[in-house]
Amino acid sequence: MAQKLVIVGAGMAAAYLLQELSRLDHGLHITLIGEEPDACYNRVMLSALLAGEAAESDLAMLSTDQLHSPNRLLTGTRVRAVNLRQQTLLTDNNETLSYDRLVFATGATVATPDIGMSGVEGIRVLRTLEDVRHLQCVAAQGRRAVVVGGGLLGLEAAHGLNGRGFDTSVVHRQPYLMNRQLDAEGGEHLRERMAQSGLQFFLQASVAALRASDGKLHAIVLQDGRELACDLLVFATGIEPSMTLAREAGVACERGVLVDAYLHTSDPNCYALGECSQMGTQCFGLVAPVKAQAVVLARQLAGADGPAFALEDWPVQLKVSGVEIFSAGSVQSGDEHLVLRDAGSGVYRHLALAGQQLVGAVLVGDKRDGIWYAQLIRDAADVSGYRSGLMFGKAVSEAMRLSAVAA
């Protein structure tokens, strides 16, 4: 009889896992349980969908075959509890399922600060397809939205709202946007580019209070007293791994569900991957490590040998508001800086060296060769032989190195 695999959570991590499993001969009986009515869609594209740049069908991650590869697919279903000893779980419609292997792919939630006005209409997050569908239904023209958080998610949300027609502002606590991935000048380039599409930014600012009447939001107050009128407030101030289910079941957790390099949790029959997981001290919010986790975990589940999951300094690669962004390593840790500025076309590239090694790369507006830079950073390669070509990518550097050898 086939081994029973239950995957809790039907987000992107589960989708990657199913993709990987479909490549392997595993013989597993798979049950996929997701809370949302939709399963396995590309969350990264929600802002594009909101902005009207993509259709819902564009968000599908799995082929029809892959989507039907689980023997059971339970959407709109929450798992209430897991019994590790009995290897069973209980859903919110009181069904008990038994498992041989269980995967926690429960994702994360948006961290919303407590500003004491719960229940006020107009305060939202932008996390799910349902969130987008809701915003698609409300009239946007002439309405004002404020996004709190100028990181990756905040900017995505702001871009989506702006595209939807909201008069959108971003309130960001730090002096420049995407401060985790960019440097000050890169952040400024990004701000300028996004401002060109009508977005407004309030940097080094935070929300001190809300103004509402009749249960409806109509303004926010910044810490310096400035008041921004708004009908919609979207929080994008970071995510928190959803690990309550695992923790309550007795699986070891800290910020997330603790896993080892093979994605095993503290329970021998349970695994975790994606945003809910934690390895060492690190949690995962980017696509690249989650995809890597899926490769490792699929081989574990299929009983095949495979490499362990290794922590890396994954580059951040994305497109915000049409602006390509790439960030790898840490430019702050460099002691020499190579900078290319092309303000006219919104391009900013910053490479940082420490000794003979590349240690950080920030690319705004033109992320060509980002992967190569990430590789150089990862390999701690000696770049002194082609330093003058480094900024201009692999082909130029290689040719320069060769011509220097030939000359």
Partner: protein, 877 residues
């Protein structure tokens, strides 16, 4: 489309050119197959003539102290000032400084006005700098400035001795004729005498790399040898010459050992040359600036002529002492009397000649004494003795020796008039009045080449702006001075006809220069005039005048000159000084006022540099491409260093072409003292002693701009014209910060562009800026502490033509991995670079023909063939 036959305006070979004209534009030029000088060949400079016919940089309107005025007003002010100076200070206070670029008709009119109507013989010409020693030597030996050889003689000879000539670069078509004739006659030998290894010496059977300036020892020693070897033609000496005993008396002192010690040559080598000369009947000795530009240039020329007289080897086919000129109409200038010590039509200042010309011209105020020669003329200008100076078609602020003195003179001169076809010359900066003259392709007249062949330079296109013929300008001034009747020319044919008449006037075979057969040509006949050799006296059959051994001296005999050889001396000599030698580059002409506008011609040698040997470089701690100060005569130039094994130890070679228009400190003639030959007055431009010292720099910049750039204060800059813009290399002094220079430059450049890209890597001193507008490159500037890390100039300039520029990253990188870098341009005609050739050689090409088939290099003008051979040779060894 029409085609028109004309003559090339560059060197003294005087090649015929066929121009294809469409819609008043010369669209192509090819060699004229019917012209006897070149029979269809053309060198790279000639081939690119069409590209020099641009309005860019042309002087288009008369200017008086920078203000545009009408012709009338400009001519009035010239005439009034001339008259006022002459009235107040006398005829000695006025002077004309002319040029071998003028047509014979222009020359004739200027000379006539000055020497016949203004009473001054202060008419000299830049030919003084070029071959006045050869003129003086011919006059001393033959009693006339008679060149007793033709190009055919070079082909028919069994031995060509080239002295002080890099004809492969300076007279390429003639050089190719010699090489071709040797190919047809394997017994033929070519000997080259030059301190430097050149493209010419590479192809020689024997290269005598003599000590600079020691040529006279070699030829006086040759006379000594000929006596001992029994190769003298004693009968010829007795019947047709005089002075042999005196010449021999000196020569007896100069034995082989003496020659060897003075020239630095091995006795074996010297003997090999002497034996060749002694035993070969058909010998042409071809000499040029390397002989002429010397403080004893006339003696050197006579030392050569002595050897031909002693062996009776002149006046017959395939032999003679042959001076080749540098300019297209140096000979024409000599014919009309353009030198201060000549009167007109090969007549001098003896009473009979003056009276004859006076009566012919019906001249009211004849000059009766020779005037001041170039160097003395500019000294008199500085001293204030000459107060009115009219310069035509030349650039003495660059081409004269001791250019600082010349500039001081021009600065101090009360009134300087400059007629020229270009506006931005160093000399123009000092002119009170600038008069726009027609340039090549516009003007109409005749020129005479080195073998006494008169050819038509025809008008191909309309004048640029208000440009006028030089003869017209002079005539207009003459009319304003009240000489309307004697200067009522309406067409150059009338001037030519008068000139031809004068040559035959009371001649009767006494004077060598007689072209009276051409007097009275109608305008139509003049228009159709085919290349014509002189002498061509009216009525008489044309015969080689000296074939019968009869010369133009009073006695009818040729003169030996007792030449006492001497080495050049220098005032402040010191061990550490290097000997400066200067010369021409393959693709450049004079001060680059024309060739400097043709991008193709700037790719063989781009930036101003001087060359030294590896040993001298090492001794001074200099490496290839570094910056150096060369100093002498309280003047200096700043140049890149080229290390070349062609330059002997102890010497520096510098090209002569650079002026302030193309580099910041590159006037090499400033380093040359105005030492002149006492006989001819020709300055010793081929010799100076200079000190070299490295110039520390904090970095280098390469700047490409669409428009003429304004540069920051630089220790060095040198600029070339590129297709669609300018490419400038500059160096930042060690005392200045690269980053600050970059900031200044960028502040200046940014307003020209709508998109400015900036790249900085301060750690390695890398600063790059690129500006674009409308998707096209406007400027690109690269600074680096290391010059080798600047981008390739050829690749970079090619980016000017790219539109729209899709990807700017390679541009800022200054490097495109997809495009092969061509390297130095070897074949200018087909634009084949060094690297393509090297690759072809590596892939198995073993001959020039092979390379030609594969890459087309060397298949058009052939100027690059010596370099191709050298590359093949280097690869083989």
């Amino acid at each position: 489309m029409t085609s028109c036959r004309t003559t090339c305006p560059y060197c003294g070979v005087g090649c015929g050119v066929t121009a294809e004209i469409n819609d008043a534009t010369v669209i192509a030029v090819t060699g004229d197959r019917q012209h006897p000088a070149n029979a269809g060949r053309l060198c790279v400079k000639g081939s690119t003539l069409a590209e020099t016919l641009t309005t860019e940089g042309r002087l288009q309107h008369p200017l008086v102290r920078g203000e545009r005025v009408t012709w009338n007003s400009a001519l009035d002010s010239v005439a009034q000032k001339l008259q006022a100076v002459r009235r107040q200070y006398g005829p000695g206070a006025i002077a004309f400084y002319l040029s071998g670029q003028l047509l014979t008709e222009d020359y004739y009119v200027a000379n006539k006005l000055m020497k016949g109507f203004l009473g001054s013989a202060n008419v000299d010409t830049n030919s003084r700098l070029c071959m006045s020693a050869a003129v003086a030597a011919y006059q001393r030996a033959f009693g006339a400035d008679y060149v007793p050889c033709s190009y055919a003689d070079l082909e028919m000879s069994e031995l060509v001795v080239m002295v002080g000539s890099n004809a492969a670069w300076t007279h390429p078509v003639l050089y190719q004729r010699m090489v071709a004739s040797r190919k047809a006659n394997p017994a033929k030998k070519i000997v080259v005498i030059d301190p430097r290894r050149t493209e010419t010496s590479e192809a020689a059977d024997l290269h005598l790399q003599i000590a600079p300036g020691s040529d006279a020892y070699l030829f006086v020693g040759l006379l000594h040898y000929l006596l001992g070897s029994g190769n003298l033609d004693t009968r010829y000496i007795e019947e047709h010459t005089r002075g042999f005993a005196d010449a021999l008396a000196v020569a007896r002192e100069i034995d082989l050992a003496r020659v060897a010690s003075m020239t630095g040559l091995e006795t074996q080598q010297i003997e090999q040359f002497y034996r060749l000369f002694g035993t070969t009947e058909k010998v042409v000795t071809l000499y040029s600036q390397g002989i002429n530009q010397s403080a004893s240039g006339t003696d050197k020329c006579n030392a050569i002529t002595n050897c031909h007289l002693a062996t009776g080897r002149l006046g017959r086919v395939g032999m003679g002492p042959f001076s080749i000129t540098g300019q297209p109409n140096a000979m024409g200038g000599r014919e009309v009397g353009g030198l201060a010590n000549q009167l007109a039509a090969h007549m001098g200042f003896d009473e009979a000649d003056v009276a004859r010309v006076e009566s012919f011209w019906q001249a009211p105020d004849m000059a009766r004494e020779p005037g001041l020669k170039a160097v003395d003329m500019f000294r008199a200008v500085e001293a204030g003795d000459i107060k009115f100076l009219w310069i035509m078609a030349t650039n003495p602020a660059v081409s004269m020796p001791d250019t600082e003195q010349v500039r001081r003179a021009l600065q101090n001169c009360e009134f300087v008039v400059l007629s020229d076809c270009v506006e931005d010359t160093d000399t123009a900066a000092y002119a009170d009045v600038l008069l726009p003259a027609m340039g090549w392709g516009e003007k109409d007249g005749t020129v005479t080449n080195s073998e006494r062949c008169i050819s038509r330079q025809r008008s191909l296109v309309p004048a640029t702006g208000e440009a006028r013929p030089d003869w017209w300008i002079v005539t207009q001034v003459a009319q304003r001075l009240g000489f309307g009747k004697a200067f009522d020319y309406r067409h150059p044919s009338q001037i030519f006809s008068e000139h031809a008449s004068l040559s035959g006037y009371e001649n009767e075979g006494r004077r060598d220069f007689d072209i009276s057969a051409l007097a009275g040509l109608s305008e139509a006949e003049y228009e159709q005039l085919e290349p014509t050799y002189w002498p061509c006296p009216s009525g008489n059959p044309v015969a080689e005048p000296i074939a019968a051994g009869r010369f133009f001296t009073a006695s009818g005999l040729a003169n030996f000159i007792a030449v006492q050889p001497a080495l050049p001396t220098f005032d402040e000599d010191a061990e550490r000084l290097l000997t400066l030698n200067s010369g021409r580059l393959r693709d450049q002409w004079h001060t680059m006022t024309r060739t400097g506008r043709v991008p193709k011609l700037m790719r063989h040698r781009d930036f101003f540099s001087v060359s030294i040997s590896a040993e001298d470089a090492m001794a001074r701690g200099l490496a290839e491409g570094e910056l150096v100060h060369a100093q002498a005569c309280s003047s200096s130039v700043t140049a890149l260093i080229r290390i070349e094994d062609t330059v002997p130890r102890g010497q520096v070679f510098s090209p002569i072409h650079w002026s302030n228009q193309h580099a910041n400190r590159a006037c090499i003639n400033g380093l040359i003292p105005a030492v002149t030959d006492p006989v001819s007055g020709q300055p010793q431009l081929k010799f100076s002693r200079v000190s070299l010292s490295p110039v520390p720099v904090s970095g280098w910049g390469l700047l490409l701009t669409r428009h003429l750039p304004v540069l920051p204060a630089a220790a060095y800059w040198s600029r070339v014209v590129a297709s669609g813009g300018y490419l400038t290399l500059f160096a930042v002094a060690a005392s200045a910060q690269l980053q600050e220079v970059q900031r200044d430059l960028v502040n200046h450049l940014q307003p020209f562009a709508t998109r400015n890209i900036d790249y900085q890597d301060p750690g390695s001193g890398d600063f790059r800026n690129v500006g674009l507008a409308h998707g096209q490159l406007v400027y690109a500037c690269y600074l680096n502490a290391d010059r080798r890390r600047l981008p390739d100039g050829d690749w970079l300039t090619a980016q000017l033509a790219v539109a729209p520029l899709e990807d700017t990253l390679p541009l800022v990188a200054g490097f495109n991995p997809g495009s092969p870098v061509s390297g130095r341009l070897i074949c200018t005609c087909w634009e084949v670079g060094e690297r393509a050739i090297a690759q072809a050689v590596k892939a198995g090409a073993r001959s020039v023909e092979c390379l030609g088939e594969e890459l087309r290099c060397g298949t058009q003008c052939g100027s690059c063939i010596p370099e191709l051979k050298r590359m093949l040779l280097a690869a083989a060894s």
